[in-house]
Amino acid sequence: MSRLLALIRKEFLALLKDPRSRFVIIGPPIIQLLVFGYAATFDLNDVPLAVYNESGSQASRELIARFVNSPSFQQVATIEHDSRIAPLIERRRALLVLHIGPQFERHLREGTTADVQVIVDGRNSNTAMIASGYAQTIIRNFSIDYAGRSGTEAPPATITSRAWFNPNLLSRWFIVPGIVGLLTLVVTMLVTALSVAREREQGTFDQLLVTPYQPWEILIGKAIPGFLIGLVEATFIILVAVLWFGVPLRGDLSTLYTGIALFLLSAIGVGLMISSLSVTQQQGLLGAFLFLVPAIILSGFSTPIANMPPAVQQLTYLNPMRYFMIILRGVFLEGTPFELLISQFWPLAVIGVTTMLSAAWLFRRRMY
């Protein structure tokens, strides 16, 4: 036992004293937390808006005020002529042009349909859709209010939507729990995938192999530091998510950590498999990214698995990230209890045990 502890201690010292591997543990989490926490969002704020108001009436001014006062839009230009619309959009000065016709208020008063034209830059379809959605909401609210005030006929039915779990539909609430999985995976993979390769490259692996350590002891000695570092990393990001980004953590911590432990097992298994196969650190790094990129894309981290072609959807069942994402979002936003996540826990456990066993097998075979 003391021999195993010495091995684990050595592993930690080697990892933490080497500036390069220290960076691997500290650098990516901070950078990615900032990138994903602040930059990666589906919400649109301050959409550049150009206003072409031909009506000049009180009603039109009220509608424009609703746009300008909403946090989603910011007025960047006022247009007086048709010909000005195209250049503004083309040069990306405005993403959306609100065009109110000269008859706007008259039509409103007459109770007939008053048209409002919204021109959107469709080059980025996703943004265009979200921006026009915002515009529709503002215009609909305006119509309902106007109808209520003027006593004209109200629309027969209106939608009142209420989003559960994320009432303000903040995309940060959706993304940040995912980062826990993403970063834990990246750091654990890098730490374990490089560990054997680093020793091979520096020639210390032979020196380790001539000691009386059994191959499984060496494997455990490599796995435990990865596990502990992954655990610390996950805890750090959970704390940042809750305390800094204000994401609610509604579920049970024990449920969450069961998921983390099982997920780490599979991440370490894959990392050690890559490590046993690679001779140089470069190969280890390449192997790690060869696994990381598809694992993240096929996890449902950013795009829903349900939108993927059926064959690819089948493939995601092999991806430990997939189960972990469900656990994370479940525990964070829904407060899903342990029993309901068992269907996610057992596949993770199966993947973890399988990868660890294959790593052990590869390790024995590639020892020489």
Binding site: R3, A6, T204, L208, L209, Q214
Partner: protein, 615 residues
């Protein structure tokens, strides 16, 4: 007893006879006689935690149409000087000129006239021999018209003519070096810079490389600057530049270094005692500057005062005879280094030797029977059998690719054998490798320690790895820190230590669990000759306590330190016996006292060439 030989000896000569031609600061330098000229050259590399000054205020001259040797241990600045001369580095201070051109300003012109062969020459392993030659001819713009004749000549000289279609990656180490040299010579340079071209190359290829270089010097008037780690090669140079820690120790013909020691070099033989005991005895005496084992005798260098009375060193040794031998370059080199080092620190550290009763040599500790190792089609080790009794130093000798490392790894349990039986310390390595491993110590050529860990951390880890704990562990760590004088640097990061310290730490780590057998894989390659002597003194004291040592080396001279040795070639055992027995096989009328290298070459030439793919 041997008074007449002692009397015939010329007493130590004063240092400056009429010979010294290089101290001619007053004499103007003849421009076309000097091909490389450096003045006050300094180059520092920034490295954590301390900057490394590879070359420090170096001033040297290399003369035309001759071979100048660049001698010094690893880290002496040999490669840096070469790279400065090739215009690949810019000096921090001082100037360097090659063929009258400034290496910094006229870098392109210098590179067109100079041929530089780095330690690992850039052969394209996936191209054939011919394609490599064509590539270098194209790079240097050699006209098509003269290529044919030049290729023929180079292929004939290197003996590569039958292999022009073979991929460079599939050549043996010696053949690769020869091809590398051929590629440099495709466009004959005026100055040839060769960086350790013969390291790890088998003696036959080494001899051929020298023949090629000599031929170019004689016929084409090429000037050569060649660095080497082998001190016996220094004697083949017309002139040598000796470096240590970036500064110049001396420059001149090799005889200039050995001449002051004329009359101070002797050989001691004692019939009653083994050479190792004789050496241990002699090395402790203050009048002995250097004592090394040479087969069954010990070669000593005495201080000037003691040289007139050489018999005096024999007190305490029974039935010993001392005879005068001519000095070698190495003797001069050691004497110079010793003088330089002892000026700074205390005198050479006396390695404590256990004066216990020598352990009995009983029983076999290593037994190898018909061992084979196959890599695909290729037999790296082919049917090898030998035994090593307890307390013996057994050497495995061979060029790179001879199979010695493969055999070595199998003995340590790092590589499974394809066939045969291997027993180490009575344990079958093929069945219970872990049990065998607990009883061996292992130290490899790269001194593979955890570079980011401190000296203490390394010792702690390896002691625990071998299952030491509590008091015993503390005692062993203390022992290592005192015995190997590592105490003062215990907290330093081991990666930044000088090579000599790394080697000591590696040996200390391998000895934490007091193993019965130690395996040393090229333990002294790259360390300076003083550190090598100190290392062997430690090994000798271990052997004295009954430890068995198995060592691989490509230093022919180091083979002399072994009790018995095996010479390997193409995976087979070429010879097995004591160093004297092996040298005996090469005795001929014209060579009454062959060196180990002569014996190696004679052995290879007496056997028909192996028909294997790995020629």
């Amino acid at each position: 007893m041997m008074d007449e030989s002692a009397a015939s000896v010329v007493p130590g000569q004063p240092a400056t006879p009429g010979h010294s031609t290089q101290n001619d600061a007053a004499k103007p330098v003849v421009a076309d006689d000097v091909v490389l000229w450096a003045e006050g050259l300094t180059k520092t590399f920034s490295a954590k935690p301390n900057d490394v000054t590879a070359v420090r205020g170096l001033s040297v001259r290399v003369r035309a149409h001759r071979i100048t040797g660049l001698i010094g241990p690893d880290g002496a600045g040999k490669t840096t000087l070469m790279r400065l001369a090739a215009g690949l580095l810019v000096p921090d201070e001082g100037r360097i000129e090659v063929l009258g051109l400034d290496c910094v300003r006229d870098q392109a012109a210098v590179q067109a006239r100079v041929g530089y062969m780095p330690q690992r020459f850039g052969l394209y392993e996936d191209l054939s021999v011919q394609e490599n030659l064509d590539l270098y001819a194209d790079l240097h713009g050699v006209p098509q018209a003269i290529r044919g004749r030049r290729y023929d000549e180079l292929m004939r000289m290197t003996g590569l003519a039958p292999f022009t279609a073979r991929l460079a990656g599939r050549l043996s180490g010696g053949m690769k070096q020869k091809l590398g040299l051929a590629c440099v010579l495709v466009h004959p340079p005026q100055l040839l810079l060769l960086d350790e071209p013969t390291v790890g190359v088998d003696p036959v290829s080494r001899r051929e490389l020298w023949a090629i270089v000599n031929r170019f010097v004689e016929h084409e008037g090429t000037s050569v600057l060649m660095s080497t780690a082998y001190l016996d090669e220094a004697e083949r140079c017309d002139e040598v530049i000796v470096l240590d820690e970036g500064s110049l120790i001396g420059q001149g013909p090799p005889s200039q270094f050995s001449r002051p020691l004329t009359g101070r070099t002797f050989r001691v033989r004692a019939t009653g005692l083994g050479p190792r005991d004789v050496q241990t005895h002699l090395a402790l005496r203050s009048e002995v500057i250097d004592a090394v084992i040479q087969g069954d005798a010990v070669r000593v260098v005495l201080t000037e005062a003691a040289a007139s009375q050489p018999d005096s060193v024999l007190t305490g040794l029974e039935q010993a005879v001392i005879e005068s031998v001519p000095p070698r370059f190495e003797d001069g080199f050691i004497a110079t280094l010793r003088a330089k080092r002892s000026a700074g620190s205390a005198a050479r550290s006396p390695v404590p030797t256990a004066r216990a009763e020598p352990a009995a040599r009983d029983g076999l500790v290593i037994s190898v029977r018909h061992v084979q190792r196959r890599f695909g089609e290729f037999l790296a080790v082919n049917d090898i059998s030998f035994d090593v009794p307890r307390g013996e130093v057994f050497g495995l000798l061979g060029a790179n690719g001879a199979g010695k490392t493969t055999l070595f790894r199998m003995l340590c349990g790092l590589l499974p054998a394809s066939g045969g039986t291997l027993q180490v310390a009575g344990v079958d390595v093929r069945k219970t490798a872990a049990r065998a491993r607990a009883r061996i110590g292992y130290m490899s050529q790269k001194f593979s320690l955890y570079g980011t860990l401190s000296v203490q951390d390394n010792l702690q880890f390896f002691s625990s790895a071998y299952g030491l704990s509590g008091r015993r562990r503390r005692d062993r760590i203390d022992w290592a820190l005192t015995e190997f004088e590592l105490g003062p640097i215990g907290d330093q990061t081991s990666g930044g230590l000088p090579l000599g310290y790394k080697q000591r730490l590696a040996l200390a780590c391998a000895l934490m669990h007091e193993p019965e057998i130690i395996f040393l894989d090229e333990p002294t390659s790259g360390v300076d000759p003083l550190a090598r002597r100190e290392f062997w003194q430690r090994i000798n004291s271990l052997v004295h306590q009954g430890v068995t040592v198995l060592v691989t080396t490509h230093f022919m001279e180091e083979a002399e330190y072994c009790d018995r040795m095996a010479i390997m070639m193409s995976g087979r055992l070429l010879a097995l016996g004591t160093p004297s027995e092996i040298k005996q096989q090469a005795v001929s009328p014209e060579r009454p006292e062959p060196t180990m290298e002569d014996a190696f070459i004679a052995l290879i030439e007496s056997k028909p060439p192996a028909g294997g793919a790995h020629a």
